[in-house]
Amino acid sequence: MKRKSLRFILTDIILIILMILPVTAGIVLKVLTKPVSEGIEISGARIYFSIDMPVQPLLITESQINSFIVILSVFFLALYLTHGITAKGGSKRQIFAEMIVEKTENLVNGNMGKYFHGFAPFVAAIMALSAFSSLLTLVGLYPPTSDINIVSGWALLVFILITHYKMKCGPIYYLKSFTQPVPFLTPLNVISEISTPVSMAFRHYGNILSGSVISILVASGLQGLSNMLFKNLPGVLGKIPFLQIGIPAVLSVYFDLFSGCLQAFIFAMLTMLYVSTGFPAQDYAKKHKLVKNN
């Protein structure tokens, strides 16, 4: 096997450091700015500072900083995975990167059809962003996905995409589609159109937030229980919350690992389904053919 050059190894090390650095910086920032508090509390994202704006001050919160941390980390992870790629293939990370690309393309082609082939990078990006944002709880940072503002932004982006593909046959066709099957149902159609981004945002945000709220409640309950059970033990032993060791981790496996990854998958899946079902494929093909014939 060919030995790697020194420059290659150095670049690798720099990329790994750059991948870990944003997360470390986030942890340091959190430790430095965390107010001293007793016990466990449930609170929203902390506001770091605010910028004065004409209408209302722009708040820079923990969730924004953390989502930029995730973006940077995923960016360098992608660079690391694709570093030193060859046509022959060989290194493990190249196989891994190819596997990710292949799986996403299969998923997109299977769910959206050939016309939407170019959607694969967008879907993979939104899935990675959402999954890594939820997994940020594992290092003790505030997950950006449990802030409704961040998830609403993504849902709004998806809504714009859906509307764009619905308008492919022209705005009149789009407006007319609200009066399908009978004109009597127009208000209901409008409501269901608006409820798409709302339900997408609430679904993702509610799942992650409920997981963290339940974890915190269980942790504080176990603290009280172990205080009650073990307070008669002598000395320092009486102050250690024994029940808090290990049991909250089981919940974390479900709420952070499983639920976080599942929500990322569901968000990407719903994006694909809404966009591909919103696109009027047959009418678009008919119109296109007509234009070509003329």
Partner: protein
Amino acid sequence: MLELAIGIILGGCALGAGMAMIAGIGPGIGEGNAVAKACEAIGRQPECKGDVTTTMLMGCAIAETTGLYALVIAILLIFLAPNIFVNILMNAIG
């Protein structure tokens, strides 16, 4: 008198949050049905396990939405509403 009014506000918010979560019954039944049918389908045709599981997870996620609306309302009632209502009361009293 003020204490009583604030107490009623806090109690009302907590009761409302608890009652909002009654909506959790619906998604529970719905998801249970979905998973039961998925198990039946896999038992009948084990070769299409992957597709059935993916579709089931999607269906569960959509059935869960109503429960999550209730959860969001409950969280708003517990963490946000008391402050707002007490402020309104204070402003009304002057």
